[in-house]
Amino acid sequence: MNFHQQNNTRRRREAAVFGLLRASTYLVLLCGALVVGTIVFKGAPVLFKAEFPFINIAFFTEAPETLHVFEHDGKKLELGDRDYRAFMENLAAPSASQPAVAPRSEHAYVYSVGGIFPCIVGTLLLVAGSMTLALFLGVCSAIYLNEYARQNTVTRLIRLAVLNLAGVPSIVFGLFGFGLFVIFLGWNVSLMAGWFTLAFMVLPVVITASEEALKSVPRGYREASLALGATRWQTIRKSVLPYALPGILTSSILGIARVAGETAPIMFTAAYVVRDQLPWQVAKLTDFFFQGVMALPYHIYVVSSKIPQNEYTERVQYGSTLVFLLLVALIAAASILLRNRLRKKHSW
């Protein structure tokens, strides 16, 4: 008997296939690492600095400003919009001994200094509002489809429609939202329009996942509850929903990343290129819902495709992108923590 390794075709093919599979996996990893690595490498210097407090607080707390680059008194100056105005006022009121000298070879680069605070706020508002809407509508429809409705042709058609909705490109949702909310309902470019558009976009995910989560709750809980004289709603509220919630949240986490990240649905419905007031600086409460906001993905789109590229604009591009990545990761992490707590509380 010869049990030694035979170097035949079968073995070589095995090795080749194995190598191919491994190489594909590593290639994917490499691409991911390159993207994230570039963003971190170029964005980190914007966000962090070597001396105390180590974080570039201005970038997180200030609004974008225009950068003015000019020469004065033989020195090259780079000033943000506010500093530049103050500087020019000083020049405009010269002392008697020193005549005014106009700055020379001036260049202005929009959004290149200051921070992205309004964009962060806008994105957080958009995510919170649209996820609340999507979860409410989605869980309600899932409960109806799974617990109340009879399983027949109509519910099958509804499910098919929901699945199809998941395949609609986001720009179509954007145009739909623009047509329905912005124009037809007259909400203009506003938080409300953005919330509804984004909510409709993730609704299929939420509905499908909620249905799965509801289905996974053991039948025994429903039967036990009903046999004790509970109504269907009491049963759902006390013995089904609490146990389905972790599953519903798991899928919503994917939804959050998508809502926070999509640019197309908000570019027609909710996002402003630039806005001076922060969202809470409104005259009355209803204005809050009907104002446009700045949003991170749209800001990134603007600074990377709508303004001339040069060494001054790169800073805000990579900085915003890194903040955006961190923000999405943070929201997802928070939801995962919440889900794990619920899971521990209602484990079965």
């Binding site: 009903l226 509970a230 209602h346 079965w348």
Partner: protein, 300 residues
């Protein structure tokens, strides 16, 4: 309104005893399939037991499939009645008709005949299944405590009825747990998760949970099929104690269990009631050869 009505009807005194207690020949039934033997010996004891549940000519369908075919059965108050028969014979279906749990299954429906509990036809339009289920409790094959504390499990039925008084809830939880012979084992850990209990304890907890809403009838769907002999013995002892206060109907695959716990036994086969009589008669001297073949273990 209807709810209160049902409850009132169910709570009224059972109808006057009948002499033809064991005999259901008053209702038309296929003669070849439902032979009824009522030996004189059992008649005397049966006279005192009033009928609580009266099932007449019941036809039940799952969609187009007939699951119960013209079942006639009267069940006595404060007795244990066992339903036996091979799988798919309709015994669980009949049990679930009694608290209308079949309402939850799409396409399942009673298409003929009536079920009367007390004086109320439970499938009549005005009857609220929710009120019915408060009177007709149920224990399932697979013990299904909620993943909550032991206390909360028993209190569940009380809370959904809107009882908020904590002292009252605590009192009735203790009463129910004592009723299910579980109190001494769990009184020091009422706030522990019920899933930490053993299988037999979980099943007794489910019984306690059903008792908490103070039903009159207790339906048990193979309550011991997942339990070992010791836990089974405890449940059977419990059934003996409970029958002084409740009318118990138990579906079981174990003929020994039917023989041990029940006063009367109904044998079902292919959706028909083959024979219904005193348990002793069914096991010792059955009238139908099919019954005899089944209880002696020659088929099924």
């Amino acid at each position: 309104m209807n709810a209160c009505l049902t409850k009132q009807i169910l709570r009224t005194e059972p109808p006057a005893p009948r002499v033809t207690a064991t005999n259901t020949t008053a209702t038309p039934a296929p003669a070849e399939a439902v032979p009824h033997a009522s030996p004189d010996a059992s008649l005397e004891t049966e006279i005192r037991a009033p009928h609580l549940i009266e099932i007449s000519n019941l036809d039940f369908y799952y969609g187009e499939k007939k699951a119960l075919d013209c079942v006639n059965l009267t069940i006595d108050a404060n007795r244990v009645t066992a339903f036996i028969g091979p799988s798919g014979c309709g015994k669980s279906t009949l049990l679930r008709c009694l608290n209308r749990m079949n309402d939850l299954i799409d396409g399942a429906a009673v298409r003929g005949g009536t079920i009367k509990i007390g004086d109320a036809d439970i499938n009549a339009p005005g009857i609220d299944a929710i009120e019915l289920r408060k009177c007709v409790g149920m224990v399932f094959q697979k013990s299904n405590p909620f993943p909550k504390s032991i206390h909360e499990n028993v209190a569940y039925g009380l809370r959904i009825q809107g009882i908020r008084d904590r002292a009252e809830i605590a009192r009735r939880v203790e009463l129910s747990l004592r009723g299910a012979a579980l109190w001494d084992e769990v009184k020091d850990r009422l706030n522990d998760n019920a899933l930490g209990l053993s299988g037999g304890q979980q099943q007794r907890l489910c019984i306690a949970r059903a008792l908490a809403v103070e039903p009159q009838v207790l339906l048990m769907d193979e309550p011991c099929s997942a339990l070992d002999p010791v836990a089974t013995g405890k449940i059977e002892d419990l059934i003996h104690e409970l029958k002084t206060r409740y009318t118990i109907i138990i579906v079981t695959h174990s003929m020994q269990q039917a023989a041990r716990v029940s006063d009367k036994t109904a044998f079902f086969y292919l959706g028909r009631l083959v024979e219904y009589d005193d348990t002793r008669t069914i096991f010792m001297n059955p009238a139908n050869p099919q019954t005899e073949a089944y209880v002696s273990g020659r088929f099924g």
